[in-house]
Symmetry: D2
Amino acid sequence: MTIFSDLESEVRSYSRLWPVVFDRAENSRLFSEDGRTYLDFFAGAGALNYGHSNAFLKQALLDYIVRDGVSHALDMLTVARRDFLETFQDVLLTPRGLQYKVVFPGPGGANAVEAALKLARRVTGRQSVVSFTNSFHGMTLGTLAVSGNATKRAAAGVPLTLTTAMPYDGYPGIGETGPRHLDRLLSDGGSGLDRPAAVIVETVQGEGGLRTAGAGWLRELADVCKRHEVLLIVDDVQMGCGRTGPFFSFEDAGITPDMVCLSKSIGGFGLPLALTLIRPELDVWKPGDHNGTFRGVSASFVTGAQALRSYWSDGTLEKSTRERGERIAAALGAIADDHSEAGLEVRGRGFAAGLRFATPGAARAVCVAAFESGLLMETSGAAADVAKLLPPLTISNDDLDEGLDIIRRCVGAVLARSK
Amino acid sequence: MTIFSDLESEVRSYSRLWPVVFDRAENSRLFSEDGRTYLDFFAGAGALNYGHSNAFLKQALLDYIVRDGVSHALDMLTVARRDFLETFQDVLLTPRGLQYKVVFPGPGGANAVEAALKLARRVTGRQSVVSFTNSFHGMTLGTLAVSGNATKRAAAGVPLTLTTAMPYDGYPGIGETGPRHLDRLLSDGGSGLDRPAAVIVETVQGEGGLRTAGAGWLRELADVCKRHEVLLIVDDVQMGCGRTGPFFSFEDAGITPDMVCLSKSIGGFGLPLALTLIRPELDVWKPGDHNGTFRGVSASFVTGAQALRSYWSDGTLEKSTRERGERIAAALGAIADDHSEAGLEVRGRGFAAGLRFATPGAARAVCVAAFESGLLMETSGAAADVAKLLPPLTISNDDLDEGLDIIRRCVGAVLARSK
Amino acid sequence: MTIFSDLESEVRSYSRLWPVVFDRAENSRLFSEDGRTYLDFFAGAGALNYGHSNAFLKQALLDYIVRDGVSHALDMLTVARRDFLETFQDVLLTPRGLQYKVVFPGPGGANAVEAALKLARRVTGRQSVVSFTNSFHGMTLGTLAVSGNATKRAAAGVPLTLTTAMPYDGYPGIGETGPRHLDRLLSDGGSGLDRPAAVIVETVQGEGGLRTAGAGWLRELADVCKRHEVLLIVDDVQMGCGRTGPFFSFEDAGITPDMVCLSKSIGGFGLPLALTLIRPELDVWKPGDHNGTFRGVSASFVTGAQALRSYWSDGTLEKSTRERGERIAAALGAIADDHSEAGLEVRGRGFAAGLRFATPGAARAVCVAAFESGLLMETSGAAADVAKLLPPLTISNDDLDEGLDIIRRCVGAVLARSK
Amino acid sequence: MTIFSDLESEVRSYSRLWPVVFDRAENSRLFSEDGRTYLDFFAGAGALNYGHSNAFLKQALLDYIVRDGVSHALDMLTVARRDFLETFQDVLLTPRGLQYKVVFPGPGGANAVEAALKLARRVTGRQSVVSFTNSFHGMTLGTLAVSGNATKRAAAGVPLTLTTAMPYDGYPGIGETGPRHLDRLLSDGGSGLDRPAAVIVETVQGEGGLRTAGAGWLRELADVCKRHEVLLIVDDVQMGCGRTGPFFSFEDAGITPDMVCLSKSIGGFGLPLALTLIRPELDVWKPGDHNGTFRGVSASFVTGAQALRSYWSDGTLEKSTRERGERIAAALGAIADDHSEAGLEVRGRGFAAGLRFATPGAARAVCVAAFESGLLMETSGAAADVAKLLPPLTISNDDLDEGLDIIRRCVGAVLARSK
């Protein structure tokens, strides 16, 4: 493994938790080159909602490559791009009564957020943005400024300005009244909070400890934004594409954000793709105002469109995720109950779930123990105090149960040790 | 085509110059769905140095997908990642005597630049950065701040701070003495130019009108940086991977930048990948200080490694690019001579070449006429006054000559019209 | 009056409320050139705590000018400067057990705050600052950034960055737990609130609606700052110099700020002077790091030293302010009781008092009516909903009662009208 | 002297060069408390153009204080304010055909510049400002950002943004073509220089080494500003009020700035006052958009108006300054000629003159020697390489000659020593 440590920057992280060289992968299983099998409750940090090497997507991709489909095309018109757009319209937007225009802002989630912030500022003529405690939106200068993690913020090397973090739902003390607090500050000409261009929010904080925003809280937030003519951006990069059940994680709350950021699983096969959806009235950009080399990745168009057709033409996957999401929650609840003295807290929604540990280091220890038992899962939260489950939505029931059982055992072992 | 105009943001640009739907592509040829063939002097804005659907890369990619190679892995250890790193070391770094550590900063060139700026600020404890007139480094907040284009800067919606643009080589009046001017400002305690963390420069300004920095100018710049302990970053996203002849565009100048940004053709097949190379001493990052979902794209590792093996194990491609680059320059020089009254100027280096037109609109008109003649090429520069040639390095001599001939004819027609 | 409207910018404000030309003034009385007399409950917005043309100060000033004392001296050593410093030390610091070094940062309160923020950032190496809702600290770029008023912030023409406003004591919803909320945000590595260099606070918000911070709240704030190694700056520009009773407004809370900003009445006679007091350990500045032309105004040194000797050598003035402050509060309370249906709220502390009106425009109407009755007082708060009393501390009981009676009558008339 | 070192911050500076306690002063003479007399070629850094304790001004001030004239009045209407405005209009503006509205922005020069920048940004809707190498405009956050001194900039503790320094007239290499260079950058859509709200310039750089801008250079700069609709601000804080001859230092260049900043000697007697003059069309402020406690200092109104009447009702002072300015230049030229091997350079204009020394430390040594000979003068420039003469305009010929002679002798002694 010396080439990794010799040649790569010390900034690498996952390889430290899982010091093994992976070779192949199928659905919820990864295979290392030394012949071991790992159950994947990590799923590419949410980029592999349809599992590894998904057979439907794989075939579509192979066909496209074999026939020399255009592989790279910036924002040129291609058959693959058209097919993706039509499928996106027909399978997702139209049935949900959603009207959005699509921006392909660049290959990753940070590009989707950068584009949303940029357009929000352009449209409103305002410069500041409100985000939330424990948010995570990316590592570029614009997206880091709306992210909460102090260590990553400090790594910017420059002050991150023009953003203010408000308390997220459930934040101790005042989280639940967050939207009302924001309303008051925006209504008060002396509050010192400049009226922002936009509010950016995750419905579940994937990197921020699996905290969740309630439907009522989100609706109140949407109302406050509307009242003050502030744009509401939902960053659905990790929670979209069905991770919590519905395709868009905000569907259950009954809100319609002004902008939506998608990436990770939108390409389906794990290849980069990102979208920023914007209300048509907001499309004030002139040609070329925002550009970039990898704005449309044909391979991702092909597998992304296939994923929409295979999994979102009917409600099967959504129903499965909702039902099995409850199974996950129940299993985690049972683990928490087994160790009531330890004050475990179940977090998350759907297939984005977590167990929060009061004991420092326990969550990490559980993940290490899980790895030794053949299960991949990571921690979440600035304090790394949450063991996070993010299985592929396509995982079999057997694999899901096996994974949950490993977690149960590992938690037991770790808590026993820490007594 | 209505789905494109109905559903996509007005920000799309290339599709306006080339209103045709492309389907397949091979090396230097694109095929539209209505059966027409286009000669490609655009090459994915430099992302397709090895041509479309390159057979070596295609086979490696198909093999990898067929055998269910891990498609997505963040910064986990994989066989594909290791192979890429080893090849990068063996084929590129070692033979050139270069010692760099590799950061995979995210999927696109902007990520490579964001990471470089971030690390430069962190290492030096300074916050400002010097860039150059007519530079282009990306569309995220951090990279836009070091880019010169006024329209794209304005689209940010916020002031772009902590950066100062110095005159690039050849900039009217003072460009040639740019490094000396910078030296004086940094030596003068009253100049008002804060000592920067880094200077970021392109050796040829791909988006900035194909202006070129001379070898002496670059060496002087490197010396000034060294003297003032300012880091030198070469953004080789467009000019690297052999575009001007050598793999790294700065090789001929004999300088060793502190950091190098690569993307576009580094993945080989047109799929996203980006690298930031850093001098080992600069690797002060802690694990996870910078992260992201698409930091290692396995498909790009596979095709990128194959491209290095196929094209950079010996000097064949480099020699060809240098020799044929002179052919391009000669052909453009002949066109300029044919129209000496029009004051055409030949720009660029190697396979990044351009013709600068004094008449407003002429360069665009040439590109439009070229498209009508079956040739794809775009303009460059904030004033769009340069017709830019960026053919695949693997183009056949026949295709190259055909394209140059089309340009010759189109320039003649456009200039005749504008008289 | 046309010269005023012809030649002065529209930005002038007080002259609109009081459209009369003043000529002379004595203690709590102003005399217009047309022979009318006005009772002054405005006192130069707090710059005239010792009244107009105070006889002790006037004589000292005349003596100094007559004998050709140095009038202007930057930070050169002068007899006047020495006398001021010695008096400041002997009369104020030593008896209170306070150890501060003195910075003369420039002529006005904004200079005192700019210097404090500058030094706090320098000492801590951090860049952001926490202020409070409805704060007011000045009109320069640095001080406006920590001020809450939206209109004045917008007038900056640039975004005001590196500052975050926290809820002040009593702010609806969460103000009372403000320090605890700040503590939590600073303890939470994911909160998105960068650890600030300093917290800047007013004990009573003179421009922000006469809101007051309780002693316990201030102590808790001081504790939080200490725990997180954040510097605590008290802006005592308006509330210092005895306005609320004790010389320093924070004395009753039992806290010792790391820095204190003084101006307005510190010069005594209404001439400019400003001081920034800093804990000795914070004095990291090198000679000349901060400079300016009017850092030491000799005339103000002379009258300022005399004021300290005349009014702060014993506790007479402080006692009077406390006792008569209660009389003011009682009188305002009686007015509020008289109109219990109107929901009037008594605000402030000591000789900085206010009546908050729920009815928009009522506070302004009271001030207009007061002017017509020969009393000068202004509104406070971003919504101008507080009628503010700021009489000279040296006002006679008769004048004080007369003024309070005018207010009683004006409030009655205004509320009767608005029914 | 221990009270000064014990109680004052280390930031104090002049007292280190002149470690003596001054007591009284008359015109060009300062008297220390130990009975020594000093000739003043410093004049309060330009705040005492009419000398110390000027008899005309002194009498007016005493009369005003004796009769209990209103001493402090914010922007209330007063007899003193009206008299100042009328005199300013009649004596200065009308005879010169200048149309400006007056802002009283606060007590010091920094306030005048802060207000100008604020208004320029507000009017244009643009945020950045162009300043010049070696400029000095103040110590507040907004004014420091347009100042060149690296040490003072670093003391801000935050990055100073939204400003770019262009080469001043005579700056090595490109200074002479500065306006043309600015024109090119503003005309080039790819230059990376955002179109600024304003350009701020000093006609002679009082703190920046007494560099001067030529009349042609200033006119070209004014033309460039006009062409690009950028506001031109002349900071005349130090060079205005007749320091270079005419009242406004830009009169000889024949330009009419959009805004002019005045302070220092505008109050006449050394008491604080500042003005921002703005073209009437720029007066877009609403009442109270900018405010402050010491916006109108009555004492300064009284002495300032008297100074205008006494010294600017006819051309006597201007003529004297021009003629004697030439005498100063000739004397300095003769000193330079005497030491032609030392490469002395005469700098400045009118009564703002300097000798630039190539030898590090020589300028400071000359000032130290001068002090020992009873002459006060300071260095100028970031490198402190210029010995600066700034005598009162009212100095007698004898005192002027005596001072020049001391300088001649001190230069000789210092250069002899350094051989």
